[in-house]
Symmetry: C2
Subunit: 191 residues, 2 copies
């Protein structure tokens, strides 16, 4: 099972491919990298470069799922807008390559991987280094964050699947009238 | 000269193609439409649908430039994030089709088209109707906003070009040392 972790950003998008199945079912790092785009380019050209590079990364590494950080709500509106534009084309690149996506918010990733939702960047880098048995601290932090997103998915995906199946059973039974579990969640298709 | 105006949104993206060159150089509407995606679909599937539909719109209408609204900073963070994700794939669709992009903020569009940067939706719809000589008020307002973006470009593009040329002349002369006009504005290419 290969997981592509992604930490989206317009200046820097970190990515990492992990595989589960090492000794004792441990995760190991297969590949990682940073997609950097220059501030001197127009927004659309930077988005195009991120999209193309990510498509190449997916083709070269053949992951079976992508774990992507949600956008952190920044006080700086321009930073947040840049990251969200980039995340749009990242999601599209995965979808075009038929790669299923799981999204996790930064706090959820920190809490799941380190046990502390407010862990700082250095703590996260050190913990990721230990879990993956890396010789050096993963740098820059965008790449370490991508590894953490993939590790988070490895831990949470089985729980999410169990929750989904439990919800499905409740829906079939229809034993929660008026609750969010009652009836079908599938709406109209208007595309 | 055909202009594609776009009002980005995840639920609804309005688009309109205008042509300049009617009687007295007036703009006329060639085509318009709404790309609607269902809330019941996953974000990546909605982005994929917007991208594909917009690529089809560009191929069918062969515009020579796109005028796209910038994201309006909403108090609702989720709405703003949705619109920005959509805008990311819209910019990518234009770039992949080699369509140059001009971006305008909503206030700039209102001010340029109606003379009032705080014009409401109904005022804008009525003004767009009059300028384009439409029999009926353009609806929904996402489509009217796309028409307004294209009209804004028609008025502002010649001014922007004149400003750009003036800046270029100042740069060549190098007569503004230390100012934003001194030296080259082309930075390093790091993609």
């Amino acid at each position: 099972m290969k997981i592509l972790g992604i930490d989206p950003g317009l200046d820097r998008t970190g990515w990492a491919v992990l595989e589960k199945g090492g000794q004792g079912g441990a995760a190991r790092l297969l590949a990682s990298g940073l997609i950097h785009t220059s501030k001197s380019l127009a927004l659309e050209k930077r988005l195009d470069a991120i999209y193309d590079r990510l498509v190449s990364v997916i083709a070269a590494n053949t992951p079976c799922v992508a774990a992507i950080e949600e956008v952190f709500f920044s006080k700086r509106a321009d930073t947040q807008a840049n990251t969200t534009h980039a995340r749009g084309v990242i999601l599209l690149a995965c979808e075009k390559q038929s790669l299923p996506i799981s999204a996790y918010n930064p706090r959820e990733i920190k809490k799941t991987v380190s046990g502390n939702g407010a862990a700082d960047k250095v703590q996260m880098q050190k913990i990721v280094q230990i879990i993956l048995g890396l010789k050096e601290i993963p740098k820059p932090d965008d790449v370490a964050d991508a590894m953490a997103a993939a590790l988070c998915h490895l831990r949470l995906a089985p729980l999410r699947l169990a929750m989904k199946n439990a919800t499905k059973r409740l829906q079939i039974k229809g034993n929660c009238p008026g609750s969010r579990f009652s009836g079908s969640t599938v709406g109209r298709e208007n595309i």
